[in-house]
């Protein structure tokens, strides 16, 4: 914890990696939603029309996959499930009602964040694989039409899952004030850490070398 009362949470690399992933996801969501429902087809104009959207969307998916892989490798070990995570989950009502004082002490990530992480990882994998099966321009010959139909359903289901996670993720960042700066400036205030991730704050204080986060 620095003298200014802040704690380093994410390195510049992590932040860039996160935002690349985020941009990809937003673009994928916009372009994907365009195909998902006719009422959103107008979104293809953001990408230069339907054909360009169809061409770009899978390539963004490839970038996302690589980018997300980076995030995964950086953070997977912080997201291993611990006993207190289950207790935290059991008290989800308190989380929603801003009664954090009733929750167990949280490490670097709380159970909700971990859930987002794993669901996100699962969704990315699902979207990537099903997307590949649907990517006719290059892979039409490798899959049967029934496999493609299944892929279509899974891709759509995955997309919905993605949207839910994204809403939770973004809303959480907006709702829990002081969170956003972790991904913009790389650091959080001590108070934020004390309130939401006390266990992590303690560890950070004990091993200050790590204080820039990762």
């Amino acid at each position: 914890m620095k003298g200014g009362g802040t704690v380093g949470r994410y390195t510049a690399g992590s932040r860039a990696n996160h935002w690349l992933t985020a941009i990809c996801l937003i673009l994928l969501a916009l372009s994907g939603m365009a195909f998902f429902h006719p009422s959103l087809f107008f979104l293809t104009d953001l990408f230069g029309g339907g054909v360009w959207t169809r061409i770009i969307h899978p390539w963004i998916g490839v970038v996302l996959m690589l980018s997300f892989l980076g995030l995964f490798l950086r953070f997977w070990h912080h997201n291993l499930w611990r006993r207190e995570d289950s207790r935290w989950m059991a008290s989800i009502n308190d989380v929603i009602n801003n009664r954090e004082e009733r929750l167990p002490e949280v490490g670097r990530y709380n159970a909700g964040q971990k859930l987002v992480f794993w669901l996100m990882s699962l969704a990315v994998l699902l979207m990537f694989v099903s997307g590949l099966v649907l990517w006719d321009e290059y892979f039409a010959a490798y899959f049967t039409v029934d496999q493609k139909r299944l892929a279509g359903v899974l891709h759509a289901a995955g997309a919905v899952l993605f949207c839910f996670i994204l809403i939770v993720h973004v809303y959480a960042a907006f709702w829990v004030k002081g969170t956003l700066r972790a991904m913009t400036r790389g650091s959080v205030t001590g108070g934020w850490a004390w309130k939401h991730h006390r266990k992590w704050l303690r560890e950070e204080i004990r091993t200050p070398a790590k204080g820039t986060g990762d």
Partner: protein
Amino acid sequence: MGAMSVSRRQFFRYSGAALGASSLTALGFSPTPALAQVRPFKLARTTETRNTCPYCSVSCGVLMYSTGDRAKNSRSSIIHIEGDPDHPVNRGTLCPKGAALLDFVHAPTRLTYPEYRAPGAKEWKRVSWDFALDRIARLMKDDRDKNFIAKNQAGQTVNRWTSTGMLAASASSNETAFLTYKVVRSMGMIVFDNQARV
């Protein structure tokens, strides 16, 4: 065509406003894409000519459609051939050969100028009609003059020419055939046949 694509593009002009619209769109506002429009009927102003399929002896009636209206400055090109519905035999139908006659008319292997192959040569040489026909006439006359048989061994007048022969076309018109007959027989040619035997 051109005019149509412009007007279709006009339909696409839902432009920047749509870009700004966000959640409203999800509630049901939908942009207007081009409405369905079938391909324009491609024969609308072509010139129709009646003909007969040149293949088999059913001799189906065909209608040939060509571009242009035969104005002085337009060179017609046949763009479509289909069956003549008035024809009592084919009643507008055609077989796979007849239905593909257009590709016969425009076959890349259509010949467009006279060619000559000299003895022993490996390639064709483009020549003029005059060169080809003069040479053919000369070769034919010389052969006839040399080999014409006026009398047989028994002394009977036979007046035949057996050293040059001809195969006539089984798809040429009766008029071509009769003119060919006159030319060939007047020279006494007798090695003369057509496709009827095969």
